[in-house]
Amino acid sequence: MEDLGITVIKVVFIWTWVLLIATLMTWVERRGSAMMQDRLGPNRAGPFGLLQPVADGIKLFTKEDIVPEKAQKILFSLGPVLFALPAFSAYAVVPFGDKLVLDGKEIILQVADVNIGFLYIVALGGLAVYGMVVGGWGSNNKYSILGGLRSTAQLISYEVPFGIVLLAVVMVFGTFSLREISLAQQGTFLGFLPNWGVFKQPLGFILFMTAAYAEANRVPFDLPEAESEIVAGYHTEYGSMRLGLYLFGEYVNLYTLAALTVTLFFGAWHLPYLDMSHFLGPISYGIASFLVFFLKTAFFLWLFVWIRWTVPRFRYDQVMGLGWKALIPLSLVNLFVTALIIQLTV
């Protein structure tokens, strides 16, 4: 058991870090989309427009806080909180590096190494739906209700394949703890492939990514907030920082999902064919593992942006069809094959 002080420092550090990255992501998204669309994007505030998120934050904070007259006040206020809270807490069980040795003390770079880390993440993902439904219902607006209902159906349908794929991963690594899964991805198997989840669960990885995009409400699955259909859906009526919480929660979610992808499928902080701990000092190894992990996560964050701006949106029935007719059967097949192989080889 670690000191309370160290835990507090870790919590504060990772919280600030995630918030910083989520803030930066709004900038990356806007500049990235501008790049793909022959525009410039925000480039006035600070160098390359890097201070744009700060300007946005100030704007959102100082705007008048409007509650629609016919809205249900309590639910209306509760919505954004219910959405942002799980998003902010989900990262707690995801590692952000291996370990740092200071004064002979080993500090694990993870806020809480819970032995049921998986369940924690899936549970919090499920809770985020409430934020959208409650917000959509509380707004008392037809578009918002439609958005809220869409989010419920969509997230619940995609939670199933998400969970089944995670189960297959758990079977491969034989543990529920995200840290132990990360540690297990060291080295190689079959002699030449890195011991990464993506090589052990190729189909699982594709299914996981698809379900993750649906969980994150991103194009092509951004049905709950499809702006050309239901005008931003569940957050149509929101303004000022309440809207800010929704938008911000989304980017925090993205960061968690990207980090989860790296942890499960891309060897967490391990480099392929290279064990950094052999030739780096304890402190520099800690920092290097953090950086490697972050760079991999950054790639998947960029992938979120990249895909968002290069595909159209699915229609609602198509999303549900894909979820129930393709993803769930495929994830079950994946689970079955995984179980069969484990049974035959062990």
Partner: protein, 368 residues
């Protein structure tokens, strides 16, 4: 349980408009929804009525060329053009052949630009923002052409009674040819996405079907009719200006859905570029305007042209004074409104915006 309690309210009404993010212009739909499926649609309009049919009676024939051009931005060439054709019929004026070709050039450039805006909006509505901006970027080349040759990005003011107001000298012809070669490559790249991308297909195939019989019954026109396999191209069935001398084939698609209408537009963009190039090759020498215009006598004239959205019809009645006694115009979108009641029911709420856009609505034309 009592029967009353068992009754669930089966459908509810969702409004779209008058101001909605998916609508270019104000119009109000009342959708009867059952879940997300549209059961019925009710259209309310009249938000942009400007009383143009009354205004034109207070201005003389030359001033009316200006005001008809302001009816709508995207077919702003066709409105004065058709009006002028009707007036020329009353006064029995035949414009010189060079003017006929120049009229076609202006017409086709506007048509290509209008079609590109429509298909780029479709990309926006299915949530494909990058494709929208890329299509608009390609269209920018056409806008450059318009600005260089006619001096304006939207209203060309190309036509006048008895001819055209502009001429293409050697330098401008060279410029036009250069720009048209330049646009082909990006156009092919962008339009191929509309033709082949599987997710674009998924969103547009089988959506908003207007069967051929319904199309004929409702009298739909333009790319909508041609998307349902009905040849309603005025350039072909009742050619005007230089169209009889030009070689082109009417674009027909038989899918009857949003996708076929888009494909018609995509192919017509290429067709428009081809037609402009043909015109430049065949462009005869001579004056561009009839000198000494006669007085416009008492009489009635009717003209119709193929606007980007379909058949545009003008009726002009003159009583011998300098102001017309009556001008009536029938615009393509008017017939398409009724077609929406066929196209929309049975589709999802998410598709209503796409279907509405597929008829290429022009509210300001229709409500004038």
């Amino acid at each position: 349980m009592k029967p009353k309690e068992k009754e669930i309210k089966k459908s509810y009404r969702a409004p779209i408009g008058p101001i909605h993010i998916a609508l270019e212009e104000p119009v109000y739909f009342k959708l009867d929804l059952q879940g997300e499926t549209v059961k019925g649609v009710d259209i309310l309009s009249g938000f942009v009525h400007r009383g143009m049919e009354a205004l034109v009676l207070r201005r003389n024939y030359l001033q009316n060329m200006i005001i008809t051009e302001r009816t709508c931005s995207l077919c702003s060439n066709n409105h004065p053009f058709t009006y002028i054709l009707a007036v020329e019929k009353i006064a029995d004026i035949t414009p010189p052949p060079r003017a006929q070709y120049l009229r076609v050039i202006a017409d086709e450039i506007k048509r290509a630009a209008s079609h590109l805006i429509n298909i780029s909006l479709q990309a926006h509505l299915i949530g494909f923002h990058s494709l929208m901006t890329q299509t608009m970027e390609t269209r920018e080349i056409l806008q450059d052409i318009k600005e260089t040759i006619w001096g304006n990005r939207m209203d060309l003011s190309a036509n006048t009674i008895g001819g055209v107001k502009y001429d293409l000298d050697q330098e401008r012809q060279k410029y036009l040819i250069k720009k048209l070669t330049q646009i082909r490559k990006p156009l092919k790249r962008v339009l191929n996405i509309f033709k082949t991308n599987s997710m674009v297909r998924l969103r547009t195939e089988g959506v908003g079907v207007i069967p051929k019989e319904d199309g004929l019954r409702l009298g739909i026109v333009g790319p909508c009719a041609r998307g349902s396999g009905i040849n309603n191209d005025i350039r072909d069935i009742n050619p005007y200006a230089a169209y009889p001398d030009l070689d082109f084939e009417v674009v027909l698609e038989h899918g009857c859905d949003v996708r076929s209408r888009t494909l018609v537009r995509v192919r017509e963009v290429y067709q428009a570029i081809n037609l402009v190039e043909q015109c430049l090759k065949k462009l005869p020498d001579g004056p561009v305007r009839t000198p000494n215009l006669p007085r416009i006598n008492e009489g009635e004239g009717v003209a119709r042209t193929e606007a980007p959205r379909g058949e545009l019809f003008y009726y002009v009645k003159s009583n011998g004074s300098d102001k017309p006694e009556r001008i009536k115009w029938r615009v393509p979108t008017y017939m398409h409104w009724e077609a929406l009641t066929v196209a929309m029911p049975g589709n999802k709420l998410a598709d209503t915006a796409v279907i509405f856009n597929s008829i290429d609505p022009c509210i300001s034309c229709t409500e004038r």
